[in-house]
Subunit: 93 residues, 2 copies
């Protein structure tokens, strides 16, 4: 079943992706820890969870550092989801 060259490529690439996904998971959770710290601190400060200027700076920073192959628009959509979840988590902090 996996004896052809393209089948081997799929299998190997999936193995690499599986490793990358676990590394992404670790980073997302580390990020979430910081988001919770921010949520608690902002409550003390009376600052709002949603701060559009900060979110724009995050987008600009990652898009500015993007080398591809992900397109900037795709990257922006991915970080929109990350920031959505961050806001949700911050509200629960």
């Amino acid at each position: 079943m996996t004896d052809s060259e393209p089948a081997r490529i799929v299998e190997e690439a999936r193995r690499v992706i599986d490793e990358i996904d676990l590394a992404i998971l670790v980073l997302l959770n580390r990020r979430a820890e910081q988001v919770r710290r921010i949520g608690t601190a902002k409550r003390v400060l009376g600052e709002p969870v949603y701060q559009p200027d900060r979110e724009e700076r995050i987008f600009d920073r990652v898009v500015g550092a993007n080398t591809g192959p992900l397109e900037d628009a795709a990257l922006r959509r991915l970080f929109e989801r990350i920031l959505d979840e961050s806001r949700r988590l911050e509200r629960m902090s």
Copy 2:
């Protein structure tokens, strides 16, 4: 402006988040490279881009390794976005 303890926490946590975001960016692009390899190989094999079984295995794997503070449902939503973008990229490969 940032002379209170909570303000310092926000500032420091944002600095950590900025570093994490660049690391996530690198991983997302590495992942995208593998997705493109898979896209090309699948075309040769005549396999479809959308393979729900493989996607379910990816969800199960990351949710199974999740230690929080991200909730499983949040993690799933994040990986849904990653897989959406992967499908898009695979189609362009």
